[in-house]
Symmetry: C2
């Protein structure tokens, strides 16, 4: 799909079984822009990568099975050691290698294991085949997450996005790892704001469990060389759409989720208030379990609205679920419970809360809370 | 136990089955102090009671099975109608009757059903028997919650606390309904601050699911007449202990909970920061599911610490679980996982997070997150 990018993924032995080490190689120097977790406790790859942010890059090494977080100075030292080996094998400068990790917090990266696996990983490199790379970065994901779009400037370009979810997905910065690659030549300075804004509109608008990982990372790789500004409007549009699709894939694959709920809060005095209410609903365990049970229990929704720490006039609140008005002026509009249960039993559910108190709005995607979330997380390490 | 107080509880038909209507009658005028939910959406009983707060009271009528929240003006009108009937049957002023409700949000209180049940309820009144009253206010509670203590001033006094939990228990104000009665004569003005402070130290330090009900209410009823200030120190102590015991009963009976986790955050620069971190840990679904699975997954705990939106130096963090140091200076201290699993498999688990960055601390009680929480809440209404 994209010229000059190769992908690989192998089972290196970090995990007991399965693919766990992925590599992306760029034939030419690429620009990179990154968004990192707002968690105060940051993984080693973030501490490491941030120091070389702005450099041209030639390689990205990603592992699953070990977050390399809370590993002290040794966690960063391990990356230096691996970077040294990989860069010399590739004949590039060490500062052109970036890292990302996902998995269990607190364990050292098995650097020797990874270094031993590098020759096999390099042999595995294939053009235009992000599938195996996408698989190698999965943890509790149930499917690999890849999007491919094309657009035109002076010539035709591709944009490819790869991501992994699926738990510890938090509001305010909601992915574990996501990488977007394009052969479109554009300098970071020309798209920094566009990229940040796309992050806010996509990865920051999904939540699975309200948790914030130590490792959350979104990276955008663009081609170096002369910029093709004629392609910029098309690129912006495709970038947003790729990031939106990736973020929706993550929420759809949320741990244990059986459905995605699209929460829209509208008619609010300030956007900031609308966002607070939408996020409060989206992380409410009672609301999320009601969605699991297809229970049109709007009382839990309005309780979450009232608990969002923003001004609310209960007597104006309207709640619309799957197009059906359940609440008008703060009180119930009679509805048939069995019919509503059936209408809620869908993969995607639309919830609109209208405060009838202004013109601002905000929307966010969340999941239901299920037995399987408990199952997955009560014994993730063992 | 307490002279001049009678309790009753019956099955009035609000619920399909079980006790659902409770009454407390005071032979003499009592003072009352109340703490209500901070939810912007407040139940009708709160809107009603607040208007007569400060009045002397003679009766308290509490129902389960219907929250009488989001019921508009009619919700308050219903209370006026019931209050009219009950007060005339008792031969007291209507303004001396208080209400409290718990149950499903959005449904009108069946006022006619309740009024029809009042004669049976009055016949059921018994001195010194809060058990049936405590049962009548239960929803998903698995046991009634009653505490009785005695203390002395010029004479001997009693203090009795009754509460119901068990879900929608929120930080910052964490009970659904709780009532404390005493025959100790003290005016509200003398204990208002003591009562609020006791609320902060007890009901505000528990959480089950981070949810905030529309109905949360704590009421303290004290005897009128000449104050006995000689008993004040003993009363303060017993009030705090009764409220603490009730709040611990609520968290122990948290929906689906198999254990209580006592989270202490210490070594923090400001108490406000310690509280934020403790609350962030206490509502973290990943941490709570790990406790359910007896998984010493401290990575989730430190991720919650880093996500609390307060300054944290990861390299100073110490985590102590059941007395065992798992993390020192931000990195793992090797421990035997199977031994730790066994040590975590207790009804009560002690977690201490020390930031080694100051002298402030805060503690809070929370529960694990289990299959049964999902089971109870995926179909609460049906």
């Amino acid at each position: 799909m994209i010229q000059g990018i190769e992908f690989a993924g192998i089972a290196s032995g970090i995990k007991a079984q399965g693919l766990d080490l992925g590599l992306v190689i760029f034939k030419e120097d690429m620009h990179v822009l990154s968004l990192y977790t707002r968690n105060k406790v940051k993984a080693a790859h973030i501490l490491y990568d941030r120091k070389i942010d702005g450099n041209p890059v030639r390689a990205l090494l990603v592992n699953s099975g070990c977050a390399n977080a809370c590993t002290g100075k040794e966690g960063v030292t391990d990356l230096h050691a691996i970077g040294q080996e990989l860069s010399s094998m590739l004949g590039i400068e060490k500062e052109k290698v970036l890292f990302a990790s996902t998995g269990v917090i607190g364990r050292r990266l098995p650097a020797a294991t990874i270094i031993r696996a590098l020759p096999a990983l390099l042999k595995n490199l294939k053009k235009n085949r992000p599938e195996v790379f996408a698989q190698s970065i999965m943890t509790t994901d149930t499917f690999p997450k890849i999007i491919h779009e094309t657009f035109s400037g002076k010539k035709n370009y591709s944009i490819v996005g790869v991501a992994k979810g699926a738990g510890m997905i938090n509001p305010l910065f909601a992915t574990m790892l996501s990488f977007v690659f394009t052969d479109y030549p554009i300098a970071p300075g020309s798209i920094k704001r566009v990229f940040s804004s796309a992050g806010r509109e996509t990865f920051e608008r999904i939540t699975v469990d309200g948790e914030c990982s130590t490792n959350d990372t979104v990276m955008l790789f663009t081609k170096g060389g002369d910029e093709d500004l004629s392609g910029l409007p098309a690129f912006k549009e495709k970038l947003l759409s790729v990031m939106r699709e990736l973020s929706l894939m993550i929420v759809k694959d949320g741990e244990g989720a059986t459905r995605v709920i699209h929460v829209t809060v509208t008619g609010v005095r300030k956007k900031e208030f609308a966002e607070k209410i939408a996020r409060r609903i989206a992380i409410s365990p009672l609301t999320k379990t009601a969605f699991f049970g297809c229970d049109p229990n709007w009382g839990r929704i309005i309780a979450a609205v009232g608990d969002a720490d923003v001004p609310v006039q209960p007597s104006k609140v309207e709640i619309i679920l799957q197009g059906e008005v359940l609440v008008k002026e703060g009180v119930e509009v009679p509805f048939d419970e069995q019919t509503m249960k059936k209408r809620m039993d869908k993969k995607e559910v639309e919830l609109v809360v209208d405060l009838h108190d202004g013109k601002a709005s905000y929307d966010i995607y969340t999941t239901d809370l299920t037995y399987d979330y408990i199952k997955i997380n009560a014994s993730y390490r063992s």
